[in-house]
Each structure stands twice: as structure tokens, then as C-alpha cells.
């Protein structure tokens, strides 16, 4: 009798439960769709508003004064390349070395502290890094410069590169290191020739992702590299960059500048996506990536 009662209860609610289940599945599906709406909206607008501004001038000319039609962002494109290159010189070797330390010598207390510091550094707002570089470089050097901007971006690269390098090196099985050591190679040669070489493409992927990230950074450049309406190839002078130029065009009240801003955004997004997706494809070809 008791059990009949329970069965009755259970089947009574059955229809409702099934509807709740279906409803919630739909809700969860819609959550995923909702997140894709802004993605496609951003990409769609960047594409449709950006394409009209793209022409040969955009890639070959520097900005013209207000009111004059035409002009381009050639100097910003070159500036971004210079900044990213400077940043890479600082960030990549430092990051990889720290990653090697964390992976190969990483069981000590020091390593735990370093790991913690790396995570914190990765989460420091990029604008705060800008403040730091301003005090460290801009003030002593007496002015805004490409070098300062590159340093700011470089600092941002370090933690990303370090953590991805550590993760990749950890995927290399211990027996491979032991095989190297057993051949009588010194440890540093084993690490460089066997461990690192085994995952060059994986580390490259991490590095490329870090580059894609800093290439789009604006905030730390605002008062380090500043901006420049003209050509500049000097590391000690302010320099234009794609993100800062987009920013200053976007907040200005001129229609033709807005067009330039959208075109610049299209180029920036393409750049970032190509590096991003390209490096993933690259990684897929790697031995560790397949596992």
C-alpha cells in the first residue's frame, strides 16, 4: 500500500518534470546562443563598416588633418609592428626562461612563489603596467617613446609565455629527459636539445597567442608610446599604433575618422584572428598536440 502511494506521487509529477527538463535544455542552449550574438554582431559590424574604408591609401598613407579626405594608417601599422617586435625581444626570452625554470626545476618552494607571482602578474590590469613603465622609463628618459611602449607590452607578454611554456614542457614525459641524461649529456643540453626541441611548435603557439594578445592592447600604450600623426622609426620618439589610433579616431567627432576607425578595427581583428587561429592549426601538426 505504501509503495502504491509512492508510485502514485512519482507519476503525478512526471509530466511536469519532463517539461521542466525540456525547458531547461532550451534555456541552456539559448545561453550559448546569447553569447554568440555579440560575437557575430561585433564581427559583422567590423566587417561591413570596415570594408568601405579599406583601400590602397589606408595601407600607404599617414593620417591627414581634419577635413581633408583620404589618408591612411600606414604609420600605425608599422608602429604596431615595431612595438610588438620590441615587446617580443623582452617578453619571449624572459617568459620562456621562466617557463623552463618552472617546468624543469619547479618542485621547490621558490618555484611555487614564482608561479604565484606569474599568475598575479598576468592579472594585473594592463593600464597599471602602463603606469609602472611611465615611472620607470618615461620620466627618466624625459618623454614618451616607442621603447617605453614596447617595454609595457613586453611585461604583459612575460606571464603568458611563461605559463604556456611551462605547461607544454610538462607534457614531455620524464623518460625522454632520462634518455638524454643516460647518454651522458649535461642537463642543460638535454633541456635545450631534447626537451625544448621536442615542443618547439607548441611553445611557438603559446608565443603567438601572447603576441596576438598584446598586439591589440591599447591601455598600456596611452602614456608610454603615446601616439604620433607622422612617420617615426625612432625608438626614442612617440610612435603611432593601430589600437591607440583606433581609439583616438573613435572618440573624435568626425565622420571620416570613424570610417578610418572601423577600417583599422577590421585590420586589427583580422591580424589577431589570423595569428590566433593560425597558431592553433600550427600546433595541431605537433606530436604533443595530437596526443
Amino acid at each position: 500500500m505504501k509503495s502504491a502511494q509512492i508510485h502514485a506521487y512519482l507519476s503525478e509529477n512526471y509530466t511536469r518534470r519532463r517539461w521542466v527538463d525540456r525547458g531547461m535544455r532550451l534555456v541552456l542552449f539559448l545561453c550559448a546562443v546569447a553569447a554568440l550574438v555579440p560575437l557575430f554582431s561585433v564581427l559583422g559590424y567590423v566587417l561591413f563598416r570596415g570594408v568601405p574604408g579599406l583601400n590602397l591609401d589606408f595601407f600607404t598613407q599617414i593620417p591627414r588633418p581634419v577635413g581633408e579626405a583620404g589618408g591612411g594608417m600606414a604609420n600605425s601599422l608599422v608602429g604596431t609592428c615595431i612595438l610588438v617586435a620590441t615587446a617580443s625581444l623582452l617578453g619571449i626570452p624572459w617568459g620562456i626562461a621562466a617557463g623552463v625554470y618552472l617546468s624543469e626545476y619547479g618542485r621547490t618552494k621558490t618555484a611555487h612563489v614564482v608561479r604565484f607571482a606569474t599568475d598575479i602578474l598576468a592579472s594585473v590590469p594592463s593600464i597599471v603596467i602602463g603606469l609602472f613603465i611611465y615611472a620607470l622609463f618615461v620620466v627618466p628618459m624625459g618623454g614618451f617613446s616607442a621603447l617605453a611602449g614596447g617595454m609595457a607590452l613586453g611585461v604583459l607578454m612575460i606571464p603568458t609565455v611563461a605559463r604556456s611554456t611551462e605547461e607544454m614542457l610538462r607534457l614531455v614525459p620524464t623518460h625522454i629527459r632520462e634518455a638524454g641524461l643516460a647518454l651522458g649529456l649535461p642537463r642543460w643540453k638535454v633541456i635545450l636539445r631534447v626537451v625544448l626541441r621536442g615542443c618547439v611548435s607548441a611553445i611557438t603557439t603559446g608565443v603567438m597567442l601572447a603576441i596576438a594578445r598584446v598586439a591589440g592592447e591599447t591601455a598600456p600604450l596611452l602614456f608610454t608610446a603615446l601616439n604620433n600623426r607622422f612617420w617615426s622609426d625612432s625608438l626614442t620618439q612617440p610612435i603611432a599604433s593601430l589600437p591607440v589610433q583606433i581609439y583616438s579616431y573613435a572618440i573624435a567627432p568626425f565622420e571620416e575618422w570613424h570610417t578610418q576607425a572601423w577600417a583599422g578595427a577590421l585590420v586589427l581583428v583580422l591580424l589577431v584572428f589570423v595569428i590566433n587561429i593560425g597558431s592553433r592549426v600550427f600546433f595541431r601538426g605537433d606530436a604533443i598536440g595530437r596526443e
Binding site: D21, A32, A35, P38, A98, I127, L131, P186, L192, A265
Partner: protein, 334 residues
């Protein structure tokens, strides 16, 4: 490592082992004790780079404190609770920016948390593997879009839409709440909150997905075998045991939202004031630095902005420390 193991076994024999002739023990440890000169140099290089990161972090802190020293000595704690910000007369209080940062970030979490958890559940529990992979990739792309591009989109697409459609609607129907009063500017706290929500969704959803993935199949089968529907299985076996993990994910999302600069600077309206309405323009700690630092002239002004940066640094430090602690505790339990 071998030597350590030997040492341990020797220690375990401890009291009941007969006394052996004392043998000099070698402690072999990777790195410091390496004998080869190349190994020593290599270790030294690598550890300098690694410890250098700690040094860098310390240096950042030191330079921020140094830059902020004038205002710290002049205003003390009042800096954080005072509202007036007047560079011309040398009065500096950061309360309005703290308010803008907190409100826009909380709004972002309010929108992003349920969405992100929903996405993580959908990707991990419902979607076929291919679909999950595809959508997961697209959501990662959401994180790859540069902040300034979000800002551009915010100025020319999101803000106008909110001004003409959403905000008038909210004002008409919920205008009795102070939150939805005043003219719809488009730019303001609400717009920043929504942009930030979009930007933290990838963070929160991917971390939640990791948390869900760590739950063994057996837990889900327990619920299924009991006659639970899919949704009930998620509630009973997945959500209930991952509260801490989701909390950690949200905290990390918060860390990201608090420090986000460009997109917010472009859509928050830049007004140094506190208003109860979400429609109102405001200013965040990050946006005031972005707006004024390059143009600040007096040293006190620069110092005040540096102190805002220092506060931002301190908050992100605390938040990420907390999140790491949570993750450690979770790992300890598993």
C-alpha cells in the same frame, strides 16, 4: 630524488634499526647542486628569469607607491572615501571611480554568471562533441577580440541601441526604481556593465567548464539511474558539488572586469559623479587613468592617478590571491 627516497627509508627505519656506520649522504637536487659548469650557468640563467618575475612584481608595487606618495601623505585614507576630484584646485578623492568600478563590474557579473554557467553546462553536458567544440571555439574568439574593438562597437552599435530601445523601455516600465531613472544617455554604467559582461563570459564559462569536467561520470550516472532527467542530473550531480569552483571562476571574472580599461573608457561617459541610475554616465578607476594621465600636468594630479592605479593593483592582487586559495582548497579536497 633517489637520494631523498633513500633518506626517507633510512628515517623510517629510525629507532629500531641497528646503528650502521655513518655514511656521508649526498643530497642530489636538480639545479643548485649540479656539477657541470654549463648546468650551473643554465640553472642560474633560468632561475634569474623566474625570480625576476617576483622582482618585477615587487618593482611594480614599489614604483606605484613611489609615484603615489605625494597624495598618500597629503590625503591619507580620505582619498578613497572623498568624492571631489578637482585637478585645478588640487582636491583629489577617488570615491566616484571606486563606485563606478564596483557597480559596472557587479552588473557585469550579474549578467555574465548565469549565462556563463549555462554555456558551460550546455557545452559539457548537453551538446554533441562537435557542436561543443565549435561553440567553445567561438566563445574563445570572444576573448580574442581586442578591447578597443569592443569599445568601438560599444560607441557606435550598443550604446545607440540601448539609448533608443532598451533604456526608454526600462524607464517606462520600471522608472519607479531609482536604477532606471533619468534621461537615457546610452553611454553610462549600464552600457559598461553589458560590455564587461560580454568580455568576462569566456573567462567564467571556460573555468566553469573545467570544474564540471572534473566531476566523475559515476556521479552523473547515480542520478540518471535514479530516474533523474538530464536537467535534474545537472542540478544534483554537477551544480551542487561545484559551487566553490564556480565561485572561484566568478572571482577571476571579477578580477578581469575590475581592471578592464579601454572598452569601458569608451562607453562609460566619463563623468566624475555618483548617481543611483544605471543610465547615468560615470567613471571607473581604470578609465580615469586612461582619460587623464597623458594630459595631467601637476605632479599632485599624476600622483593621484597613480594612487588610483595602486588601489586597482591592490584589489586585483587580493582577488586573484583569493581565487587561487579557493582553487588550492578544492584541489586539496579532491
Amino acid at each position: 630524488m633517489k637520494a631523498e627516497a633513500l633518506e626517507n627509508s633510512a628515517a623510517m627505519q629510525g629507532p629500531w634499526s641497528i646503528s650502521l656506520p655513518t655514511v656521508k649522504r649526498f643530497k642530489i637536487k636538480a639545479g643548485r647542486g649540479d656539477l657541470h659548469w654549463g648546468d650551473r650557468l643554465f640553472f642560474w640563467l633560468m632561475s634569474t628569469a623566474a625570480v625576476g618575475i617576483c622582482g618585477l612584481l615587487g618593482l611594480i608595487l614599489a614604483f606605484l607607491v613611489y609615484s603615489a606618495l605625494p597624495t598618500i601623505t597629503q590625503f591619507g585614507w580620505a582619498f578613497l572615501v572623498e568624492k571631489s576630484w578637482d585637478p585645478v584646485n588640487g582636491e583629489f578623492g577617488a570615491l566616484a571611480f571606486v563606485f563606478g568600478t564596483v557597480v559596472s563590474s557587479l552588473l557585469a557579473l550579474l549578467v555574465a554568471t548565469p549565462l556563463s554557467v549555462g554555456i558551460a553546462l550546455f557545452l559539457n553536458e548537453l551538446a554533441p562533441r562537435r557542436v561543443a567544440k565549435g561553440i567553445g571555439f567561438l566563445i574563445e574568439m570572444l576573448a580574442a577580440i581586442p578591447s578597443v574593438v569592443y569599445g568601438l562597437w560599444g560607441i557606435f552599435v550598443l550604446a545607440p541601441w540601448l539609448r533608443t530601445t532598451v533604456q526608454p523601455f526600462l524607464g517606462d516600465w520600471f522608472g519607479f526604481l531609482p536604477l532606471f531613472q533619468g534621461p537615457p544617455y546610452g553611454v553610462g554604467l549600464m552600457t559598461s556593465g553589458i560590455i564587461l559582461a560580454i568580455m568576462v563570459i569566456p573567462t567564467i564559462s571556460s573555468l566553469s567548464k573545467e570544474v564540471f569536467r572534473a566531476i566523475p561520470r559515476a556521479n552523473r550516472e547515480a542520478a540518471l539511474a535514479l530516474g533523474a532527467t538530464r536537467w535534474e542530473t545537472m542540478r544534483l550531480s554537477v551544480l551542487k558539488s561545484s559551487k566553490t569552483g564556480i565561485f572561484g571562476a566568478v572571482i577571476l571574472g571579477l578580477g578581469r572586469a575590475l581592471g578592464e580599461t579601454m572598452a569601458v573608457t569608451m562607453v562609460i561617459g566619463n563623468r566624475n559623479d555618483i548617481s543611483s541610475s544605471l543610465f547615468a554616465p560615470a567613471q571607473t578607476m581604470a578609465s580615469i587613468i586612461a582619460n587623464e594621465y597623458a594630459e595631467a600636468t601637476t605632479s599632485l594630479h599624476l600622483s593621484a592617478l597613480a594612487e588610483v592605479g595602486l588601489a586597482l593593483f591592490a584589489v586585483t592582487f587580493l582577488i586573484n590571491g583569493l581565487a587561487r586559495l579557493l582553487i588550492w582548497r578544492m584541489k586539496g579536497r579532491a
